[in-house]
């Protein structure tokens, strides 16, 4: 029996379970939107990594470097265009945001391409070496960020039109979080279309299941992998700059900090599953916000607990990819 819908039920189930624990409905609405927004940003950062994991069985701990470098590249552009960012005009804000996002994605993609060729390629098939060299690469990148941008925390104000909140009844919904939800949905929708409606997407899904068979059908999987690696790195850069604007600051270690949550998300979702990554990210985002409000001391462990419970239920994640 096809029970693909079951994991989806977890999202409203967690939201409804939190309802009696939160003192008021407006607070619950605010926390829910915050959780969804956080989940969307985590999804953007994690989606590329889960495909790299699934497609080539590569454990890339340097993914955090792509997030940090993307954030710094994007922030450099955004800060250079401060007047446009501070103008109370959506078009003026977008004139800074669009080049900032392009810079973030381009530099992260270029770094991803370099990493695949120089760092990851020599260690295909050896998980221990992958962990060692990609962690080393992450540390080197962090230090390079210190050299280029300095060691101090850099404040990054949000664009003026995305500052403040919408009031829906008594619930305050931050504008930036709404933007994050919209961008996350657009990215998920685009990925879904590519993976399900294009030959390239079918090849990626087939490759995640059985690389050898895809090669036996005449496709050079290595090229496909490089493309996925670069695209995933670009998405990490996009997620990085969004995460930096969300936190209104950036540090060289931000990528490494968020990697723990990203690994939880891709394990919960099922290695290589973009749909699972999406559901997992939303669950983690919601859980972090509800528990962070209701019992802040438990917030750190809540996602670990979520992962343990889900793996007890489905040991290969919510949407295991058939290998």
């Amino acid at each position: 029996m096809n029970r693909k819908w079951l994991p989806l039920v977890l999202i409203p189930a967690i939201a409804l379970a939190a309802l009696p624990l939160v003192p008021s409905l407006p607070t619950w609405v605010t926390l829910t939107v915050a959780g969804l927004a956080m989940g969307m940003m985590i999804f953007i950062m994690a989606s590329g990594l889960t495909l790299v994991f699934g497609l080539m069985d590569v454990m890339n701990f340097a993914h955090g470097a792509f997030i940090s470098v993307g954030a710094y590249a994007g922030a450099s552009v955004l800060l250079a265009m401060k007047p446009a960012m501070q103008a109370q005009s959506l078009s003026a804000n977008l004139s800074a945001i669009v080049p900032g996002v392009i810079a973030a994605m381009a530099l992260a993609a270029a770094l991803g391409w370099f990493f695949e060729r120089v760092v990851v390629r020599p260690v295909y098939g050896d998980h221990l070496k992958q962990i060692l060299v990609t962690t080393g690469g992450l540390i080197v990148c962090e230090q390079l960020i210190h050299v280029v941008w300095g060691p101090d925390l850099i404040p990054l104000p949000r664009p003026a039109t995305f500052t403040g909140s919408y009031l829906i009844g008594d619930a305050a919904i931050e504008r930036y979080r709404m933007l994050a939800v919209v961008v996350g949905l657009v990215v998920f929708g685009a990925m879904w279309l590519v993976l399900n409606r294009t030959k390239l997407g079918l090849l990626i899904r087939a490759g995640v299941e059985n690389i050898e068979m895809v090669e036996s059908l005449g496709y050079r999987i290595r090229r496909l992998f490089v493309a996925v690696f670069v695209a995933g790195s670009a998405l990490a850069g996009l997620g990085g700059v969004m995460w930096a604007m969300y936190q209104e600051s950036l540090t060289a270690g931000m990528g490494m900090q968020v990697m723990v949550v990203i690994f939880i998300v891709i394990i919960i979702g099922g290695l290589g599953s973009v749909g699972g990554c999406f559901v997992g990210a939303l669950l983690v985002g919601l859980m972090a916000n509800y528990i962070g409000y209701v019992a802040p001391k438990l917030a750190l462990g809540s996602n670990i607990l979520l992962m343990v419970l889900i793996l007890l239920w489905r040991p290969r994640g919510l949407y295991p990819v058939g290998k």
Binding site: R205, N210, S216, G218, G322
Partner: protein, 239 residues
């Protein structure tokens, strides 16, 4: 008949293990050659070496007039070799239709070839939009073979197509292979002697990584003593 595939002195190592020890045999064009042998004789290694999935450490493999032992798997597939592995290698998370779209390198699957696939394996039409992972074992094998023939191929390598299949499905497979061999050259690894005898034009028998017998399938089928010696089986027990 000119040979489409020829192996000469092919050796294959997997890690520290020496699996193939100078394999020599040929596959004639427009024929079906059976590769038989006991478990562990090296039959699957032989197919995987031809397909480039394991590299020949010595010897030559000629395909369609060219030496191909140094080519990578995608290049071999593009030269016209299709491979159906022992585990069938279907993409369980894709539908039957999507499996065939992936297999059609040159674009959308050709309608005439699809009609032929549906004629050979009606289940493929019935489950066209169904997930491949939900098919039965026999239907998965049919999908694996359909995928291999969705575009014209010069040589089809098939590893144990009847493994684990019910007798009724095996008969359907025999009928399908009879149809396939009309215009395709096949090299089939098989343990089911009844299947091999029904279809094979030529046979090569392996033991301990070497070819120990080559000849016409009909001759082997008629010589029970030879079967006992080469395969350790009696024809009567495998009918």
């Amino acid at each position: 008949m000119a040979d489409l595939l020829e192996l000469r002195g092919v050796n294959t190592h997997i890690g520290q293990y020496h699996i193939l020890h100078g394999v020599d045999f040929a596959v004639a064009r427009n024929s079906l050659t059976m590769l038989l042998g006991r478990n562990g004789a090296g039959k699957t290694t032989c197919l995987r070496t031809i397909m480039g999935l394991w590299r020949a450490s010595a010897g030559t493999i000629r395909f369609d007039g060219s030496e191909v032992q140094t080519l990578e798997t995608p290049a071999l597939a593009r030269r016209g070799i299709a491979y159906v592995p022992e585990n069938m290698g279907i993409f369980a998370g894709l539908t039957v239709r999507e499996n065939l779209i992936v297999a059609a390198r040159e674009g959308e699957p050709d309608d005439r070839r699809l009609d032929r696939i549906f004629m050979l394996f009606p289940a493929m039409k019935k489950f066209w939009h169904g997930l491949a992972g939900n098919l039965s074992g026999g239907q998965k094998q049919m999908l694996a073979i359909s995928r291999a023939i969705v575009e014209p191929r010069k040589l089809l390598l098939v590893d144990e197509p009847t493994k684990g299949l019910a007798p009724a499905i095996i008969q359907a497979m025999i009928d399908a292979f009879q149809e396939l061999k009309r215009d395709t050259t096949l090299l089939v690894v098989e343990q089911n002697f009844h299947f091999a005898r029904s279809l094979g034009d030529a046979v090569a028998v392996m033991d301990s990584g070497r070819i120990v017998h080559r000849g016409r399938m009909a001759d082997l089928a008629a010589d029970e003593t030879l079967q006992q010696r080469l395969l350790g089986l009696s024809l009567d027990t495998h009918q």
